[in-house]
């Protein structure tokens, strides 16, 4: 019994990481219907970026990853804003094909450049023992400090993003261009700028997710597509347009995978996919849909 509680608890924490992967994608889906097939690869790119930055200044390992994350944030925002403005804005339209092909091309470019730079060996960001520390919960249960931290960050991000979306001027601009780009344009919004801001913010989330992912486990250049699929599943299970939904979707996916792995290590990921497909059958709009 304790074993099962432990499994579910680990699954919930894993789900926090998946929700973190998913929120950037959820934002881009929501604001401009852009399916970024390179999303997972950008997370891996961020993890490798943080890996290099954390080694660059000779800081103690307990501080280095946090400094790396701090340095990565403005770079990520700028990269996201620029990418949207220079490239992705030109691929949007009624036809989903151009944006899919361009982001798919980006995914291949990122994977192979990472492979060329870092080789195919898995790497991990040294965090001074944080990744092995744990917190005892009593009753024989314990959770890893880092996974717990990641989960709390994910919850904080979900609340923060939902508030940004619902209550701030920039959130209002996001909702406006999402509802009707042309009407928003008439009200004085430059949709190209708003789209680029959304991608910039999505890339902030990607930078945080990538750094934490790289601290928690090892990453290698070919890992991106798997992360993309988990992120996508979390978004669809949770329902479009709701960040709390995305958080719930990530947790459901994480718990399912953890239970699946406990059942048989060969089938953990498979169970996650099956729950996603069952969701499509039972409730295609997700658990907490807000927009369509």
């Amino acid at each position: 019994m304790l074993g099962w509680i432990d499994t579910i608890l680990q699954g919930v924490l894993l789900g926090g990481l998946y929700a973190l992967f998913a929120m950037g994608q959820s934002l881009m889906f929501g604001v401009m219907r852009l399916t970024n097939t390179a999303h997972g690869d950008f997370i891996i790119l961020a993890a490798f970026g943080a890996f290099s930055l954390s080694l660059a200044f000779g800081l103690p390992p307990a501080a280095a990853p946090w400094l790396a994350m701090g340095l990565l944030l403005p770079i990520a925002f700028g990269a996201g804003y620029g990418l949207q403005r220079v490239l992705l804005n030109h691929t949007l339209g009624r036809d989903p094909l151009p944006s899919l092909v361009v982001t798919f091309g980006l995914a291949i470019v990122i994977q192979n450049l990472l492979q060329e730079t870092y080789s195919a060996d898995p790497r991990s960001i040294e965090s001074g023992g944080l990744n092995t520390a744990s917190v005892a919960l009593g009753g024989g249960l314990a959770v890893g400090t880092l996974p717990l931290l990641i989960f709390l960050v994910a919850v904080g991000m979900a609340i923060g993003m939902q508030m940004l979306f619902d209550r701030t001027p920039i959130g209002r601009a996001f909702r406006a261009v999402s509802d009707d780009k042309d009407a928003a344009e008439l009200m004085g919004l430059d949709h190209r700028h708003v789209y680029a801001l959304a991608t910039g913010i999505a890339f902030l989330l990607v930078a945080v997710a990538g750094t934490l992912h790289g601290m928690k486990t090892t990453v290698s250049p070919a890992d991106g597509p798997a992360l993309l699929l988990y992120a996508f599943e979390a978004v669809i299970i949770g329902g479009m347009g709701s960040f709390y939904g995305t958080l719930a979707g990530g947790i459901i996916l994480g718990v399912t995978q953890a239970v699946g792995f406990r059942f048989d290590p060969g089938w953990g990921i498979w169970f996650g996919h099956i729950v996603f497909l069952m969701m499509l059958v039972v409730r295609p709009s997700g658990l907490f849909p807000k927009t369509r």
Binding site: F29, R33, L34, T35, T37, L87, H90, T91, D95, P96, L97, P98, S99, L100, V101, V102, F104, G105, L106, A107, I108, V109, Q111, N112, L113, Q115, E116, P225, L228, L229, F232, E233, I236, G266, W267, I269, W270, H273, I274, F276, L277, L280, V281, P284
Partner: protein, 345 residues
Amino acid sequence: MTTHAVSDAGFDVSRATRASRIGGVFALVLIAFLATFPFWADAGWMREFNEMACYLIFAMMWNLLAGYGGMVSIGQQAFLGLGGYALLVMGNFFGVNPFLAVPIAALLTMLVALPVSQLAFRLQGGYFAIGTWVISEVFRLSIANVSAVGGGSGTSLTALRGIEKATRQSITFWLCLAGAVASVALVYWFLRSRQGLALLAIRDSEVAAESQGVNVHATKLGVYLVAAFGAGLAGALYFLGNLRISPDAAFTVNWTAFGIFIVVIGGIGTIEGPIIGVILFYLLNKFFSDYGTWYLVGLGLLAIVVTVRFPRGLWGWMSRRFDLHFFPVQRRLVLHEPDKDTSHD
């Protein structure tokens, strides 16, 4: 080839072009020439041809699905892999002649696509693309867990053991050639048919097509099933030539990545496009694949540049520049000269 729709009304509806008549004759000569390969050509050439034929079939079907049907899938490798495994299971476990098993494998794949479509069609646009990818991952993980077909490390096609090497190579080559020709012919015929016209209408506007009495759902389902059949055929042919299959090789997303590359570079939404794309892909592969990761970076960048700058691809640019149509699917109005007699043939 010219059909006289309303001959006495002063115009004809022409479905052929000069290029299509000359091209048709040239294509027949080329096919006849290729068919003699097994009698004199090097086995290495035949292997290369087989591989490119499989890419052509796969790309042709992806083009039908995405370029004409508007269903951009990143999961067509699901059907390619299933075609390969269907061939393996029939040949190794049920003693079906492996050559005969090729078309049956494609048919079985199409049967599987029917329930799969029920899931995939719940998603649209970009979500459809990634959803189909998830479905293909489910097939990969499922088969990797079946030890009877070798699990994750795969297995060999032992059904071909008793067949002499030269015979095997010749028949495999002819099947690949026939498959490639048939896939082009099938798409061409389909697009010229009533259903093809309906599909083009759907591509331009689903709502407008529906209001004109086109059954949108049935047409899309039909295209999805035909595309699955073609991908299954490509998979069965590929692994018939390869003799060995594993889940990672059969269900890798690279299949769709290369298919997209071929179609986009050649010209999406044209029949000539994938043919030109596969020739270009072959040449790039031959001369640059030694550069490994840099080669793939180059392919990715090329796909991005072409999509943004030349969205109609190489063939789209050429056909517009020179008004060339080797596979005309449109109907052209030809007005009669007023002073000339309108009698034909």
